[in-house]
Amino acid sequence: MSDQGGLLDIKNLRVEFPTRRGLFTAVEHVNLTVQPGEILGCVGESGAGKSTIGNAVIGLLEPPGRMAEGEIDLKGQRIDALPYESIREIRGRRIGMIFQDPLTSLNPLQTIERQLVETITTHLPLSQDEARKKAVGLLDRVGIADADIRIAQYPHQFSGGMRQRVVIALALCADPEVIIADEPTTALDVSIQAQILDLMRELCRERSVGMIIITHDMGVIADITDRVAVMYRGHVVETGPTNKILGDPDHPYTRSLISAVPRPDVRLKRFPLVEYIESAGQTRAPLDIQNHWLGQARDFDATEGDLLRVEDLHMRFVTRNSLLPSARRYLDAVDHVSFSIKQGEVFGLVGESGSGKSTVARVIAGLYRPNSGAVHFAGGELTALKSEKEKDVYRRQMQMIFQDPFSSLNPRMRVLDIVAEPIWFHKLASSKAEVDEIVKDLLEHVGLGAEAAVRYPHEFSGGQRQRISIARALATRPRFLICDEPTSALDVSIQAQILNLLKDLQEELGLTMLFISHDLPVIRQMCDRVGVMRYGKLCEVAPTEEIFTAPQHPYTQHLLDLMPKLQALSHEGLEVEEPAIQ
């Protein structure tokens, strides 16, 4: 970083939040520079302080946060100490903003035209007509067809991706010099994400706007940025050109972060180097299944072949109810889906949001009753069972891990009671002492200490809570585990730990798994066979290697095209697994 300064300079920034538990320093010693036409990526995990930097630049720190030290210069002019009115002038006029959620960035009660024209006339000396002309031009530029007509519409008439385009147009209204984009594509599906990123890069070059992109996603970083700043706990640990940071990182944190990114191109045995970020602080000993509680009293026979068979499953939701059957509207969430999972196999279901993959999982777990079709599990037809008693036998053998670690544990129960509940219910132990012993053992097993038992869920981080969920699922000694997006709410390094844990457990316990994810690289790391879902239908089922190397269905090919390639990423310390011969 040179002393003569760039377009935007952040110098020695420190932001503090006074709380009743003392002063919390969100970011410290942050120095960043953006040049015209350059895209600077700011990457880090949740709580690293990356959004705080963006908010500090535009003077929108949430109270009681305050800038305690440092300065922010726009073209050599210091802007952080300006009076409120002047900052407001700069915000929107010279610095544009794009936020994560396109739904809340637009006023739902005003037409797009009104919002754009109002913003333009506030900042530029243009008449209504000129402003409207400029607005139409902008919409056209961000790729909205028939901009002339669509400008009169309301935000709800646009899809999510289109809305984010409108938000970008809104940020460009006053011809800003700098744009700050906070997780601009996180709320969007992959296919739309790629288009939006392309658009942002083009606009940035074309208008020589400097851009800071704040994201947790290495794919976004690899796709679009020129330089990257890696944040860790409020500090910038490393800055440099994107290729250098991704391919040959210096700082140990960056190295462990990059090694934790799931690769789309190879399958790894385990994710290495996660020790730097390891928060659980416990190493788990490998398990001797023969002598362990989890391996004992297996009341099911070792079925060969298919453990689970789903036949012609159909599930529809009523989207508009009416007394007249003809006026009702339905959504076919699962549309005649059939597949089977072999004993000991990890079967993946992949698809974009709304493709029905979670609904399939919930039907199998017995949370929904399908409209037609059958689920066969371990020789019984689950969908034909009537009494709760009959179902209990199968429930014991089948457990589920949920997506959101913050809502999957009852906040009013101690961890001990949460994990013990299935043991008591299925009468897998006879005395309180025995149950306590099993729970402690399970907790140690998923990488938490036994002392976690007496705590409440809110005392744990997302990754630790997911470990508790896994312990609860294991407590019935299941043979089949349904994982519904188990890591999509987690940071990438925590995701690597949880995926490692699931791999270990699968191997040690010989578990069969249904693994659901929207994330293709994660699927590649975890699964033996994959089914691709779209609009409730199963497009293609094939062994993982085949899906990734020779996809048959056009939709699978399309999904793979959109997947970030991440070839620039460092391969240091990775242990590649040879493709299994099927």
Binding site: R20, A280, G281, R395, F402, S407, N410, M413, A452
Partner: protein, 315 residues
Amino acid sequence: MSEESGKLQQASPGLLARALDSDVYHSFRRSPLAIGAAIVTLAFILATILAPLLAPYDPFDPSQIDLWDGKLPPFWEEGGDARYLLGTDNQGRDMLSTLLYGGRISLLVGFAAVLLGMTLGVALGVIAGYVGGWFDAFVMRLADVQLTIPGILVAILINGILRSVLPIELRDELAIYVVVLAIGLSDWPQFARVTRAATLVEAEREYVQAARVIGLRSGTIMVRHILPNVLRPTLVLATIGLALAIIAEATLSFLGQGVPPTTPSLGTLIRVGNEYLFSGLWWITFFPAIALVVLVLAVNLLGDWLRDALNPKLR
């Protein structure tokens, strides 16, 4: 994240320590109004519980009542008697003692009625929200219908029916239970509505689904998982409901539909005093009325504060 692993090594704090460390307690300490209201409410509750120790006389003991002492003004007025600090009523009962014993009945009826309304409302709300279907529709429409009629009218109606069913000789004896039942039954729809809404939210959360995957029966899930998580919003309702129930009791008693004059509550005292108000005996109405206003105001302020403290948006 090292602070998290550091956290793991500490022992889990006890219930009291956690309560003292909670956001609600901190918001309480920062609100002088809430502290004042809590002190007044607690003082009131203590004073009425300890009435037999604090009160100079027992207003229910006829041997201590002398009609010749009737209608004495408070001691600072002309003709006042130092034995009766706040004067006496028409029958010669010491106002201060009657007030303490009367407040006891008001509070008792208030608490019991809210407890009844809350139990009924929360139970129906949780079942309606979790089970859904025709039961949900039936309970909620019933609540809607009842909410179209002012609560006090419902209470008067229930009170009237129950009293007419009871044999005459039991009416005075059971009056207090009848009043509790009447107010409690007029109170449940709000609890049911709030609880049902909270239950709908909780039932969608993944810990409830996890419980279903384990195989737990609906009853267990409702009691162990949903109930503890939906009680929070009803706490606010219960506090404000307490103030309303005390007023409802006073209203019923004032109208002569509540507890009999032999065991007077604040409302009964106000009614009795009302007859003498224009003959200059202001103290018989004035003191119970002031007590009622202060008590209800304090409880209401406490409820208001609790609502704000539990609302994450206002923090």
